[in-house]
């Protein structure tokens, strides 16, 4: 019988920006199992959201996660609006899409850089993060913050994008596309990158469905699943084609995210082209009452908000099911059978966001 060794991975680890611990069970160099242990960044945010009124909560909910902050506030506001029967002005809906898709671009670029870092391709990491600054600059110019935008509110958005900035958004899209064309061949075609990603961490379609994974992880395993096709908000005006791959390995997950980068650029452009004139914010009266489930497609997958109001300005219950929480069981299915040196790449390929998961 081979002797088993247990190696702790995390909570403090060079490739992990966030603390999660996986106890890796090894037989020689092969990993045969992984035991996760979480709770290092649990704050108790859901309880706090019930102690603040529903407008104050927006700023708290943005800080569930710093990477997809706008999409969290968008999901929450959509839920409250549905509860209160508020019709959001069409301009606000389009503006929300612009910011949401820019957030997706910045999140995917961040992920791609960290993936390059995880297999030691330092110069590619730097190149991708330099490109990411372009997105952060335009977000700062339009919304006032680099990562925490704070623009989404119940009944619309808090800021308009004036016409001269709209031109700049379009110019940034062109600039980004040129950047992408420059470095994306390195991710997809480079020999040494492919050695580390092709065939590593395979998740078959059956296991993906069984474990209930979401977002790019599910799509890379051939599961057609993208909540944007449900046409919430201004997505009703656009056709979003889910990007599907069949292989289910790290390379397929990279390919899905690369194609989504171009798709997001396209959606920003479409949203700008069809931007209606008029109000971007309507005053909201009253308090939320009833219960609602609100779903939004985030860069990492689908986020689900359950909100229950009681007619006062405080919510009775707020519950969040975040995409990484759904993807963790999938991750545990990918790890057994791989080499120890592939573990960082596999963990990063699901784009983990632990502060979302634990709140």
């Amino acid at each position: 019988m081979t002797r088993q060794t247990i190696i702790p991975f995390g909570p403090q680890h060079p490739v992990l920006p966030e603390p999660i611990q996986l106890k890796l069970v090894l037989e020689d160099k092969k990993v045969v199992g992984a035991i996760p242990s979480i709770g290092y960044i649990h704050r108790g945010l859901e309880k706090l959201a019930q102690q603040k009124d529903y407008i104050q909560s927006i700023f708290l909910i943005e800080r569930i996660c710093g990477i997809c902050s706008f999409l969290h506030s968008m999901a929450y506001c959509q839920g409250i609006e549905e509860m209160m029967n508020v019709e959001v002005p069409p301009r606000a809906n389009n503006l929300r899409i612009i910011w949401a898709e820019m957030h997706r671009i910045h999140s995917h670029l961040l992920w791609m850089g960290l993936l390059a870092d995880s297999f030691g391709f330092e110069s590619l990491f730097m190149e991708i993060w330099r490109c990411r600054e372009t997105v952060l600059d335009i977000m700062e110019e339009t919304a006032g913050g680099r990562v925490m935008l704070g623009v989404c509110t119940v009944g619309g958005v808090r800021r308009d994008i004036p016409p001269e900035l709209i031109k700049k958004v379009l110019a940034t899209c062109d600039e980004l596309q040129a950047h992408f064309d420059h470095f994306i061949p390195s991710i997809l075609n480079d020999y040494s990158v492919k050695q580390r990603t092709v065939g590593v961490g395979v998740l078959t379609k059956e296991v993906a469905l069984e474990r209930g994974v979401v977002g790019p992880v599910a799509r890379a395993s051939g599961v057609v699943m993208d909540h944007r096709v449900a046409k919430y908000g201004a997505y009703a005006n656009f056709d979003v084609e889910p990007q599907i791959e069949q292989d289910g390995d790290c390379y397929a997950r990279s390919k899905v995210r690369v194609r989504e980068l171009y798709q997001s650029l396209d959606l920003v452009r479409q949203s700008v082209a069809t931007l209606p004139e008029g109000e971007f914010n309507i005053p909201v009266k009253g308090n939320p009452d009833g219960e609602v489930i609100s779903r939004v497609e985030q860069p990492r997958g689908e986020v689900l908000y359950y909100l229950r109001g009681n007619g006062s300005k405080f919510l009775d219950r707020m519950r969040v099911r975040t995409p990484t929480f759904a993807n963790l069981p999938g991750l545990l299915a990918m790890i057994p059978g791989c080499e120890l040196s592939d573990v960082p790449v596999i963990i990063l390929s699901i784009d983990p966001c632990i502060s979302c998961t634990e709140r």
Binding site: Q12, P19, G44, G66
Partner: protein, 158 residues
């Protein structure tokens, strides 16, 4: 300045943060802001590091981990605390699982306020930390940093 504080190696630990500060810290290290021009290098092993960068507040689960990482760094060492969560708990201060600022567990040398702080503010904090590192190397007791004060409500206008 000696050669020692011209190549400070940094180890980063995310305590209870929402990621906002962490991605801004990484943005600091990449070409746009480029902390490497001060010799700052991000390392994974606390035993190689001179500077500990912490984001977020502490809870029961990560306080021992933070203490452990701090104890492994060889002397002289400085602690840079990024974001408002590290001083008081910030927006999460009233959460049931947040104990408060990291100064409850380890001594802090520089607080960088903001939610999240801008990369420029972080660079400023690092430069300040390098001065403190140099003083500590000379055997001087620098004490711990004062917490940034936060005004929750602006004073009423008469």
């Amino acid at each position: 300045m000696s050669a020692f504080s011209k190549s400070p190696w940094v180890v980063h630990y995310n305590c209870n943060s929402c990621n906002g500060c962490d991605i801004e810290l990484l943005a600091c290290l990449t070409p746009m802001y480029d902390l490497e021009r001060f010799g700052v290098l991000n390392v994974g092993n606390p035993k190689h590091a001179d500077v500990l960068v912490v984001t977020g507040s502490v809870n029961h689960r990560n306080a021992p981990v933070l203490k452990n990482v701090y104890d492994q760094i060889p002397d002289p060492k400085v602690v840079v605390a990024l974001g408002v969560c590290t001083s008081t708990g910030g927006i999460f201060a009233e959460c049931y699982n947040v104990l408060g600022g990291i100064d409850k567990v380890i001594p802090v040398d520089v607080f960088v306020p903001g939610c999240p702080p801008r990369p420029e503010a972080m660079i400023d904090g690092f430069v300040k930390a390098l001065g403190i590192l140099e003083e500590k190397r000379g055997g001087k007791d620098t004490g711990s940093a004062e917490k940034p004060t936060i005004t929750l409500f602006p004073p009423a206008v008469e």
